[in-house]
C-alpha cells in the first residue's frame, strides 16, 4: 500500500515537472467551457442543470485522456528507468496501480477546476446538486475507464505518440460500441445476445444514465470491472515485454 502511494506521488509530480500539465489543464478548461456555452447552449436552454456540460465529456476525454496516459509506461521504457523501477522492491501491481492513480488524480484535478460552471448554475437557478455530484462521479469513472485503456496502450510501445494514437483509437471503439453504426454491423449475422453484449460494452450506455444523476450499481460495476481488466492487461503486457 505504501509503495503505491510513493509511486503515485512521484508520477503526479512528474506531470507538473513540465509545462505539459498546465497546457493540458488550460486546454481542457477552455474546451469544456466552449462546448458547454456555445455548442451546448447553456444559457439559451434556460434550464438550471449541467447536462450540456456533462454530455460533451466523453468526446473531450476521447482526445485528452490518452494524452494524460501516453507517457505512463512508454517513457519508462524509452528512458530505461523501467529497469530501475522493476528492480526495486516493488511489485508490478503496485507500479501499475500507483501510476494509474496518479493519472486519475490529475484528471480529477481537471474536473475539480471546472467548479466555476457549478457556481454559475447555482447563481442562476437552483439545480439538483445531488444529480450534479453524481454526474461528476460518472465523469471520474469514465476517465478511469479511458485511462486504463490508455495505460495498456502506453505499455505496448516505447513511443508516447504511438501510445496516444492507439489510445484514442481504442477509446473510440469503446465509446461508440453502443451506437447503431457499430451494432448494425453485428445485427446482420450475430445472434441477439452478442449484439446486446457489444451494446453493453459501450461507455456511453453506462455514462449517460450516471450523467443524468442516476447512479445504477450495474453501471458502477461496469466501470470498475472494465478499468480493472485493462490494468491487469497492462501488468501482463509489462511482465512479458518490460525488458524489450
Amino acid at each position: 500500500m505504501r509503495n503505491i502511494g510513493i509511486i503515485m506521488r512521484r508520477e503526479l509530480a512528474s506531470y507538473f515537472a513540465t509545462p505539459l500539465a498546465y497546457i493540458f489543464l488550460l486546454i481542457f478548461l477552455v474546451l469544456v467551457n466552449l462546448f458547454t456555452f456555445y455548442l451546448g447552449e447553456f444559457f439559451e436552454r434556460g434550464q438550471a442543470d449541467l447536462n450540456p456540460f456533462f454530455s460533451y465529456h466523453p468526446w473531450l476525454f476521447l482526445f485528452l485522456i490518452p494524452a494524460v496516459s501516453m507517457r505512463l509506461w512508454a517513457d519508462e521504457r524509452r528512458s530505461g528507468s523501467i529497469e530501475l523501477l522493476m528492480t526495486l522492491p516493488v511489485t508490478l501491481w503496485q507500479a501499475v496501480l500507483g501510476k494509474f492513480l496518479a493519472a486519475w488524480a490529475f484528471t480529477t484535478l481537471a474536473l475539480v477546476l471546472t467548479f466555476p460552471i457549478w457556481i454559475s448554475v447555482n447563481y442562476l437557478g437552483s439545480p439538483d446538486n445531488g444529480a450534479i455530484l453524481a454526474a461528476y462521479v460518472g465523469s471520474m469513472l469514465l476517465a478511469a475507464g479511458f485511462l486504463s485503456i490508455g495505460s495498456l496502450a502506453s505499455a505496448l510501445t516505447r513511443n508516447p505518440v504511438v501510445a496516444f494514437i492507439v489510445g484514442i483509437a481504442a477509446c473510440f471503439v469503446f465509446l461508440v460500441a453502443g451506437f447503431p453504426l457499430v451494432l448494425d454491423a453485428f445485427r446482420g449475422w450475430a445472434p441477439q445476445p452478442v449484439v446486446d453484449a457489444v451494446a453493453s460494452l459501450g461507455f456511453l450506455t453506462h455514462y449517460e444514465a450516471i450523467s443524468k444523476g442516476v447512479i445504477d450499481i450495474r453501471d458502477l460495476i461496469y466501470f470498475v470491472l472494465l478499468t480493472t481488466w485493462f490494468l491487469m492487461a497492462t501488468a501482463v503486457v509489462l511482465d512479458v515485454r518490460k525488458s524489450e
Binding site: 509503495n3 512528474s14 515537472a17 529497469e83 511482465d239 525488458s243
Partner: protein
C-alpha cells in the same frame, strides 16, 4: 551470496545466455568480462529480476530471483547499464524516492548523507538529472545502488563514460565497499579487473569460457597480459 544454476535466456532462436552456472561468495568481487553482445547484461538483468530466465535458477542471499523476487531485490543494490533515472527529478528527489521505496528511515536514512558526500553529489542535489553530465549521472546511479548498504552489489559498467579521475574514484569506492559484500561488476576495461576484482569470468556467446583469478587468467598468455588472453579465448 549469488548462485546461478544452468541460467539460460533464449530470444526466439537466439540463445543470449546459455546454461551459466557460478557462485559468488561474500568478500569476492567478480569481474564479468566479454565482448559486446556476449550476454553480460542479460545475465545481470536476470539476477536483478528484470529479465525472466527461460530456464535455470538464480538466487541472491538464498532468495530465488523468480519465486522470491521481492526478498531477493531487497538485498540487492543494482546499477543498470547506462544508469537510467527519472530525468525530470532533481538528484535529491530521486534519491529520496528510492530511499522511500527501500523503507530507509532513522539511522539508515542518515546514511544517505554519507553516500551523497562520498560520491560528491552535494553540489548537484537541487539539479534535475537530465541536466547532469554523464559522470554525475553514473554517480547518482551508484548512490541509489549502495544507499541501503546491500549485502549484494551488481554493477553493470559502473565506470563507463567517466574520466580517468572519476574512474579511479569509483574503483576505490568499490574496493572500500567490498569488505564482506558479494559484488559483480561488468566492464570492458581489463585494467579494471586487476584494480578491483578478486576473480574474473569471461563470457562469450552466452557461455562461460574462463573463470579464474585475474593473475591466473593473465598467466594463460605467453605475454602475461590480460588483453591477449581475452582476445584468444573470445575470438
Amino acid at each position: 551470496m549469488i548462485r546461478t544454476e544452468g541460467l539460460t535466456k533464449r530470444y526466439g532462436a537466439l540463445t543470449a545466455v546459455d546454461a551459466v552456472s557460478f557462485t559468488v561468495k561474500p568478500g569476492e568481487v567478480l569481474g564479468f568480462l566479454g565482448p559486446n553482445g556476449a550476454g553480460k547484461t542479460t545475465t545481470m538483468r536476470m539476477l536483478a529480476g528484470f529479465v525472466n530466465p527461460s530456464s535455470g535458477q538464480a538466487s541472491i542471499c538464498g532468495h530465488d530471483v523468480d519465486a522470491d523476487s521481492l526478498a531477493a531485490r531487497a538485498c540487492l543494490g543494482y546499477l543498470p547499464e547506462g544508469a537510467p533515472a527519472y530525468g525530470e527529478m532533481t538528484v535529491g528527489e530521486f534519491l529520496a524516492f528510492v530511499a522511500d521505496l527501500r523503507r530507509l528511515r532513522g539511522a539508515a536514512r542518515a546514511r544517505i548523507e554519507a553516500v551523497i558526500e562520498r560520491l560528491q553529489l552535494q553540489g548537484v542535489l537541487g539539479q534535475t538529472i537530465e541536466t547532469l553530465s554523464k559522470g554525475f549521472r553514473r554517480r547518482v546511479g551508484l548512490a541509489q545502488a549502495i544507499m541501503h548498504d546491500p549485502p549484494v552489489l551488481i554493477l553493470d559498467e559502473p565506470t563507463d563514460g567517466l574520466d580517468p579521475n572519476q574512474k579511479h574514484e569509483v574503483r576505490s569506492l568499490i574496493n572500500e565497499l567490498a569488505g564482506d559484500k558479494t559484488v559483480i561488476i561488468s566492464t570492458h576495461i581489463l585494467e579494471e579487473v586487476d584494480a578491483v576484482c578478486t576473480r574474473a569470468i569471461i563470457i562469450a556467446r552466452g557461455r562461460i569460457v574462463a573463470d579464474d583469478t585475474p593473475q591466473g587468467l593473465a598467466a594463460r598468455a605467453a605475454s602475461g597480459r590480460l588483453d591477449d588472453v581475452f582476445r584468444t579465448i573470445t575470438a
